[in-house]
Symmetry: D2
Subunit: 355 residues, 4 copies
Amino acid sequence: MAEVAQESEAVPAPVTREQRPRVIVAGATGFAGALAAHLLMRHPRFELVAVTGRSEVGRSVEELYPQYRVALPIEELSDELLARVGPVDAAVVGYPHAAAAPTVAMLRGRGVRVLDLSADFRLSDLATYERTYGPHPRGELLAKAVYGLTELHREQIAGAEIVANPGCYPTASLLALAPLARAGLIADVVIDAKQGVSGAGRGGALEMTHLSFTGENIIPYKVAAHRHTPEIEQELSLIGFSGPVQFQAHLVPLDQGEMVSCYVSTTRPVQAGELAELYSQAYDSESFVEVVRRPPGVREVRETNICRVFAAADEHTGKVIAFGAIDNLWKGTSSQAIQNLNLMFGMPESEGIEP
Amino acid sequence: MAEVAQESEAVPAPVTREQRPRVIVAGATGFAGALAAHLLMRHPRFELVAVTGRSEVGRSVEELYPQYRVALPIEELSDELLARVGPVDAAVVGYPHAAAAPTVAMLRGRGVRVLDLSADFRLSDLATYERTYGPHPRGELLAKAVYGLTELHREQIAGAEIVANPGCYPTASLLALAPLARAGLIADVVIDAKQGVSGAGRGGALEMTHLSFTGENIIPYKVAAHRHTPEIEQELSLIGFSGPVQFQAHLVPLDQGEMVSCYVSTTRPVQAGELAELYSQAYDSESFVEVVRRPPGVREVRETNICRVFAAADEHTGKVIAFGAIDNLWKGTSSQAIQNLNLMFGMPESEGIEP
Amino acid sequence: MAEVAQESEAVPAPVTREQRPRVIVAGATGFAGALAAHLLMRHPRFELVAVTGRSEVGRSVEELYPQYRVALPIEELSDELLARVGPVDAAVVGYPHAAAAPTVAMLRGRGVRVLDLSADFRLSDLATYERTYGPHPRGELLAKAVYGLTELHREQIAGAEIVANPGCYPTASLLALAPLARAGLIADVVIDAKQGVSGAGRGGALEMTHLSFTGENIIPYKVAAHRHTPEIEQELSLIGFSGPVQFQAHLVPLDQGEMVSCYVSTTRPVQAGELAELYSQAYDSESFVEVVRRPPGVREVRETNICRVFAAADEHTGKVIAFGAIDNLWKGTSSQAIQNLNLMFGMPESEGIEP
Amino acid sequence: MAEVAQESEAVPAPVTREQRPRVIVAGATGFAGALAAHLLMRHPRFELVAVTGRSEVGRSVEELYPQYRVALPIEELSDELLARVGPVDAAVVGYPHAAAAPTVAMLRGRGVRVLDLSADFRLSDLATYERTYGPHPRGELLAKAVYGLTELHREQIAGAEIVANPGCYPTASLLALAPLARAGLIADVVIDAKQGVSGAGRGGALEMTHLSFTGENIIPYKVAAHRHTPEIEQELSLIGFSGPVQFQAHLVPLDQGEMVSCYVSTTRPVQAGELAELYSQAYDSESFVEVVRRPPGVREVRETNICRVFAAADEHTGKVIAFGAIDNLWKGTSSQAIQNLNLMFGMPESEGIEP
């Protein structure tokens, strides 16, 4: 750990036009890692030097996902590999939670800056992590990590050693709710989320992926379970709402796309005009959050890094309804990872992921 | 109207095994009417004597919907037709709201018992109707109508002149919430509904029906609008909850199927055991409401008259989540119409629509 | 084998109204076996006495497939089980090829009449089987088996010990082509087949089942491979065409449904009138083959035992195009199995599977 | 017409890096025109100066298609508009056949180079056009037009006044078959095509677009009709095959994507090695045709200008099967239009549509 601590003091300098930071993707066989590899391969500034996997070694990402263009062979992540590929500036780690942390630690030990796609570094409180996910293999690293929701933590991300890419549900939920939370308007909130099957991953359960089970279906899942809640609650508590959040996910029959519908009991009456102002202030200068004038459909943000948000006041109930629409694999995961990497290396935030 | 008033005093006697009540479907070109015609055609007891339409005259239901087996020609609903087909015991009316009422009145004037699929007779309060749908063409008939959610109004339906078939959203919502309402447990409720495109009907807007707009999409619609709320509020108020209901509908990419996810703030803490008991008491003797032990998917009730419900207490937030899954065209519309017609004519409730 | 031989001489007598033949489904965890169990459970005449599986023992079919209503526990197929359940008149065997034959042999040894869903008994020629599928574990039983395309072999099926249920592709192809073959009109034929993902089965490869791979996709598979060709060629050769058949399958993004498009170079010019006559003669008296007047869609036969066929003469090329549309799991597999079982036990062919 | 003739003699010079040819899209409300507008808007070299429509005037493309980024208002195509926008170098015309020709003529009269998306200029033979589509409003212009399948007519396209963008079916079919035709290998060919519903257009018939009709369906359409055949036959006849082509289209439940499966009876036996060589020679230097080693799925070319082709020899029948997979709206229509426009203005062929 000495090495890690030492390394972490290095202050990253913005890369120059000529420099091409060298990146690896560890865990490129899953949906998230594979797309990250694809986006890095076509990125004008990063150089993807290797992709690794815990399975499918010897095949390529484009063999597994013929829509992606990554001909590099999938290799085992090993000292030998790292020695062979030479200096590595950054790594995207696409492992499941608990499996990610040791790899992140190893890479940090070599001075590599890490964008971690798992949940391992999203929660700053170890106890909350362990209640939610079980024992944390490298809890001491939590303090080094920054929560990578770009729009909320842009500055810390720029200088971070470890960026914990947010979950897709928290991404959409927080972007939909942040303006209300900051204004102190949230008294209580219900988040009803709907997502396509890519959210279940390549290795998801039959019932969550096979078209014969998911086609023509709508399925609530993990009822009253709380995988995503702590992350949302942690971030909302930083900007103005500290209560428990009611969150419920549903699987719907599409591939990529996620809609969160947030029902907010407000601390005081809110009118449409105030809502419009709050969202406009929050997002007018953002490249990837678009406040729209009619409820967005997820299809319109498919394969983009954009989150479209829409909020309305319901006079009948006094509640505010806020929607967030994203592509769970893009803004919800892999293109947001690129957005963060761009920041970490001093590039324009939208480099390689322009709308 | 004199005739209507007179007719209404006739007390319907249960039909005998030998009798086959003669039925027409008025408005058989739309999804709801066409399916009702199909179900009546294969019904062992009813005799479908004519189907009518305001368009497509001369074609047949099975020409429009090749999966249905109704070879009868679509005719214009006219005195001439009614004279020609002879006595008619019952009619299913499948017109849009406002268009339905005059036809219902005309049929009542001839002594025909009516199952109306529109919203025209669902709200007992004329002012609420007119606030929601505009002027009511035959408001004086509201008092003759019974709200046709079989499980709530079985007895009144049996003797009714006019049965107003519930909307599909209210059907699922009320079945999911009734046990909580009756126990006085609802303090506040958010209903997030998801439905396939058949809900938009045959003539639905491009954006709500065309696969190029609806495929790979999730779209919230009619945000903070209140078409379905009055109906839900009216019925909940009869059984124990009188507040406003937050309701929001979403379109998801499938054909038939509807899920309502109800988030209930309770008047007092509720445990899983009490929930199980409440739902069991409410539905154990029902043929078409099944309390299941895991969250139901809509696919498992497709093309059935079954509503599957599931409720859970969330310890984290103290809320209760209740789900209702139906086929919006079957239990949500046309097979529920048959369930009601069975009741109206003294037949076993599940005749012709067995699970 | 002595037992088997002996048993085979027993001439089956039609069952009386009172008798309820006792059936088991061996291999009820897969799509085909599970649906067969569901159809038998709701069948008015058969009694489903046990369901077995090579996995999922202790669960029930309706736990695996919540749309089916089979609460029986899945058990291991064993002497103990067979002793416990008492006499068994028939078995549906839903194992993969090569795994099915030994079980069929065992059941025959106990005098059970078998409807086998696998390919093991479809080809009468052992050499052809072994070229296509590899070594046959019980080739000596081939002579006892009848090819179960009801419309072609009705009489042999009625008295058969073993009925080999046809593959779904051959079912649709043969029904589309039989009238042309019988008339000696086929000089050459190309069959282009399209099927939903249920054809890949519950345990199908990720690329053939996961909605993230199959959604928004069309994939040709097993190009120039010949799993289904021998079966089609065997049956066509019995009725008038003896050449090789060009067959190609494609996966399309739906669940249940199969379309075969057959392009026939004819031995002589054919006009529309003659075509109509040939198909009418072939199928007018069939309950489950419907000759339609416009190209059928697979949706209109979903969850039915019906095959809809349509044929047209193309003046431009001189070819005849014939289409066959079925539900691959129903007429293509499990409801055809019931159709055959009905025949085997002297019941009306459509008992329990009425359109 | 004098003007037109005169204009046609102008030899187009390649544009310089600094020049930005000014383009309009006439008919930007349909799927094809809207996507062309979107692609031109994000194109680094073309300047989209106006979009017009015969309906939806005043709205914008991105209002109709929220996934596109074209904020320009849809205007009426008029002298006034053309006067106002100033010089126009090129126009994409997205009207239906017969409606396109007069607009193309008008634009040619003003010296505008036209990329026409309709069928009006695809057939060089007037009689064939009129047999297929009815009277041609401006048949005299046929001689000015070049068939815009880039890979076959690259040189003529570069200098053309009018480029007739190919139909999507001919695009995929011709790219799949061209190597075989050129080698004189085609004796007879059956083309079985499958396409998503975007092929039916925004205004397509209910039965071809509504998810309740197209979901879970496979439908053959226009059986033995011949809209696409003349175009395919015209082009094949130029490169080595002059017989009639059997073509059949099918609708499958997805949005964008098209697969053609071509079954070729060959003039002599062909081996896999020769096939590989023929396809490699034909396409190794092409940017947008990729010869792949396993059957391609349409999903892997979605939203790209790529056609993936795969050919195999079937030893059993002696036939060759060749597949072509494209996105019908991209390579099949609008991105191919950009590819042609790039050529027409001397830009790199892949400008703005890089894979």
